[in-house]
Amino acid sequence: MIRVLLFAYIKERLGTEEVVLHEQQMTVRQLRERLQHEYDLQTASSLMIAINEEFATNDDIIHAGDVVALIPPVSGG
């Protein structure tokens, strides 16, 4: 089980604070694809993704038990 925490507008887009994926493991890239197709999150490719409070790159592997955070970059200022 992988917990995916949502922040800012992603939370509102998906209407929930977290998503649970029943996977043993997956790459960050696979997570992005799944968010895009299964959850219709068109911005998935530009999200920053952290695994257990550390940013990860596309080839990093997420394991069951990990907590993933989706961090949308924003431009307001």
Binding site: F7, A8, Y9, K11, Q42, T43, S45, S46, M48, A50, E53, E54, F55, A56, T57, D60, A69, I71, P72, P73, V74, S75, G76, G77
Partner: protein, 336 residues
């Protein structure tokens, strides 16, 4: 020095740090919400020299969160950089404030880097400018402090050339869709929190307390009671075209667009190529019966139902449209 007594008592700054601050030069890019808050704190802190660059003027909708400005600034339509300088000088006459009304995409912005700049503060409202700052930061080895916010959500990260990942390591392409204050709104407290992080990091860097620089990205949502520090080391990318081994600084070589739609502003900006002679034009328009007002920096009028602003530096804003073709036709008809 007496006026800084409470800051001198703070031991990581002390008398030595306070004297050091007097010889430092901070560049604040953008004088909107984050730029205002940072400029105010750095001026009060006694940083010797501030350069403030902004292309916009004070509007009534800015007053809700842009703390340097008052109603009078919006009424008179002062350029933000000019209004900022006025307030900052009233707050601390010892700080040398330079106000530049210009677009960072202009050549003259890049020429600022011929002088010593000790820190850059991100007060911009779009990714494109941040990629430019990021490349300039790497090229001239100047730390810069990313800050951004929308709604009640904010982010900040301190980018130190040759040490931390750079902005492009985090965000490797212009997001196709992103939120701005103009589509999801913003509250002033998130601005102040992002700016508090930015100013704190700036002070650490300026007084040389490098051990305390925050090496994580901070992310928070003040309304949702979220606050996290996220480690960033893995993101440093040796193939990054901005900070990697083979650098091309792509943002420094982008063709400058003559026309651009301002991020979430329902406004098109056009570059005239030459300065506008504002005072003369204003006089001329008035005598021909046109409703016009402004000051030595800009001229505001109404053309075919659209508010149009001309800046002395040669830019024209057409408000209330995102249609570049229409904006260009207005420009050609009246000013080219």
């Amino acid at each position: 020095m007496e006026r800084y007594s409470r800051q001198i008592l703070f031991s990581p700054i002390g008398e030595k740090g306070q004297r050091t601050l007097q010889y430092k030069h901070a560049l604040i890019v953008g004088a909107g919400a984050l730029g205002s808050a940072n400029a105010d704190m750095l001026t009060r802190a006694g940083v010797g020299r501030l350069t403030i660059v902004d292309r916009d003027y004070v509007d009534w909708t800015n007053l809700q969160r842009q703390t340097l400005y008052s109603e009078e600034d919006a009424e008179k339509g002062w350029p933000k950089a000019v209004a900022a300088k006025r307030r900052l000088t009233a707050v601390n006459r010892d700080v040398h404030v330079e106000a530049l009304v210009m677009d960072v995409q202009d050549e003259s912005f890049t020429s600022l880097f011929e002088q010593q700049i000790d820190i850059m503060i991100d007060g911009t409202d779009n990714f494109e400018t941040r990629f430019l700052l990021n490349d300039l930061s790497q090229k001239y080895r100047i730390p810069w402090i990313y800050g951004a916010c929308v709604g009640s959500y904010g982010l900040s990260f301190t980018i130190i050339p040759e040490e931390t990942p750079c902005f492009r390591c985090f965000v490797n392409h212009l997001p196709s869709y992103h939120l701005t204050c103009d589509n999801v709104g913003i509250i002033s407290s998130v601005v102040q929190m992002v700016a508090a992080y930015q100013t704190t990091e700036a002070l650490k860097i300026l007084v040389g307390d490098v051990a305390k620089i925050r090496r994580s990205l901070v992310m928070f949502d003040v309304w949702q009671n979220e606050h996290r520090f996220l480690r960033v080391d893995k993101l440093k990318n040796e193939h990054c075209p901005s900070c990697g081994r083979d650098r091309t600084y792509p943002a420094l070589h982008r063709e400058k667009a003559k026309m651009s739609v301002l991020c979430g502003r329902d406004t098109v900006q056009i570059r005239h190529g030459h300065p506008f002679r504002i005072t003369e034009m204003m006089e001329h328009m008035k005598t021909s019966g046109q409703q016009v007002h402004g000051n030595e920096y800009l001229l505001m009028t109404q053309l075919e139902g659209h508010r149009v602003v001309l800046f002395a530096d040669g830019r024209m804003l057409v408000h209330g449209t995102k249609d570049v073709t229409f904006a260009r036709s207005l420009y050609q008809k009246y000013f080219s």
